[in-house]
């Protein structure tokens, strides 16, 4: 089960953020079912060869965000009635959109130009829908 996670330690993106993103994505898409047990901190750290405190930090943040729950001695589980899947999907998608807009703004485009590009991209990805 742990094999569903992968991290790229050489990336500039902190490893704990990579893990959080993947767990949220997994829960949002149902590859991690509600109530499903996550690997222990130690097992996941050894599976990925990453620092255990880094894994623990990701789990703590996921617990704070209501995605998983940890009961001492039993382990960490995807929360039943946790954060709604639609909300999690937004959680995962939002930073990507944020990045796109930051890139556009960094290139010196004003908000009207960005809006025009966004609308065009929308109609490309959601053909047939009125925007």
């Amino acid at each position: 089960m742990a094999a569903i996670f992968t991290v790229d330690p050489r990336s500039g993106v902190p490893i704990y953020l990579q893990l959080i993103e993947q767990v949220k994505r997994g829960v949002a898409l149902g590859t991690l079912a509600s109530g499903e047990q996550l690997p222990t901190v130690k097992a996941l750290a050894l599976e990925l060869t990453v620092n255990p405190n880094t894994v623990a930090r990701a789990y703590r943040d996921l617990e704070r965000d209501g995605v998983i729950e940890t009961s001492p001695g039993r382990g960490s589980f995807v929360r039943n009635n946790g954060t709604a899947s639609s909300e999690l999907r937004s959680d995962v998608a939002e930073p990507a959109l944020d990045n796109a807009i930051r890139t556009a703004k960094g290139l010196g485009l004003d908000s009207n130009e960005v809006r025009r590009l966004f609308t065009r991209a929308l109609s490309r990805w959601y053909p047939g829908e009125e925007s």
Partner: protein, 296 residues
């Protein structure tokens, strides 16, 4: 709340030989359960700092402590050290080394030693002088880990090891930390620190240049890349702030490496009307190279 003392502590440690200061005013606290990767070019003072920590060298000034206490012979019941150059006996076999360790180390666990010999594929009957450099490193690690130490100090623990066994060494450190142990290791391979360590310390010329959580560091250190319509204006005044590590120019682009990005630099660039600004993440190697090449 009473805080536990750090597992490893250097406090204002200076180590001077005749005319040469190998370590200058080093203060570094490593919490229990942490893995700290120590990076630095040759001659940075990494080995001297470790040897002083273990009591093999006497501090010129300042102090060191393990779990809040000075180092004594009993410290070594729960602390293991693997030096950079092996301290093995060429004429003795692998099995004889394990036997020596069993007699010298009260907490030696023979089952663990056997397990580790298997992990590294070491032949018990072989004499040490017939072992490759990597196999000697592996044997030194087996002996160090056989007592399940609470504190591990490893000076370039993967030198001579192939990539498969390098990964094994990282996993052994991770396993130790997951059980609450503390690891300080030096390395020339930034990628190992990036994977296994939660904290990184960077030394150069005897001084500690940086100590931080690896993930926090990546969240802070950025490159701000600004392009200008024509020639780059004179930005010297605008960029002479503490947060800037380095400024590079190429054509009409300027790349500014910063210790953290809170929008200040973009604000300072705004009056010069850059045509674009891009903020780029950095991995540990980028950060390391910037830190050690920065003018002191």
């Amino acid at each position: 709340m009473i805080q536990a003392p750090p597992a490893i502590a250097f406090d204002n440690l200076t180590k001077r030989y005749r005319n040469f200061e190998a370590v200058h005013d080093l203060t570094l606290h490593i919490e229990a359960g942490s893995i700290c990767g120590l990076l630095g070019p040759n001659g940075a003072g990494k080995t001297t700092a470790m040897k002083t920590l273990l009591g093999f060298l006497r501090p010129t000034s300042g102090s060191v402590a393990i779990n809040g206490a000075p180092v004594t012979s009993s410290t070594f019941e729960t602390l293991s050290y693997v030096p950079e150059t092996d301290a093995l006996f060429g004429e003795l076999t692998v099995a004889q080394h394990v036997d020596l360790n069993r007699r010298a180390q009260p907490r030696h666990d023979q089952a663990r030693a056997e397990e580790l010999l298997g992990v590294f594929g070491l032949d018990r009957r072989k004499r040490v002088k017939k072992l490759s450099k990597g196999q000697k490193t592996a044997l030194a690690l087996v002996l160090a880990l056989a007592s399940k130490p609470r504190v591990l100090v490893l000076d370039e623990p993967s030198s001579g090891l192939d990539p498969v066994f390098q990964r094994v060494v990282l996993d052994l450190m991770i396993d130790a930390a997951a059980e609450g142990g503390t690891v300080l290791f030096s390395s020339h391979q930034v990628g190992q620190v990036e994977r296994a360590a939660d904290h990184v310390a960077i030394m150069r010329g005897g001084r500690l240049l940086l100590y931080n959580n690896v993930d926090s560091l990546k969240g802070q250190e950025k490159i701000i890349e600004a392009t200008f319509a024509s020639a780059i204006p004179d930005l010297n005044g605008a960029l002479r702030v503490e947060v800037v590590r380095r400024v590079e120019q190429a054509g009409n682009m300027v790349r500014i490496s910063v210790k953290h990005d809170d929008g200040e630099i973009a604000q300072r660039l705004a009056p010069y009307n850059p045509t674009s600004i891009r903020i780029v993440d950095r991995n540990l190697e980028d950060i390391f190279l910037d830190v050690v090449s920065e003018k002191s």
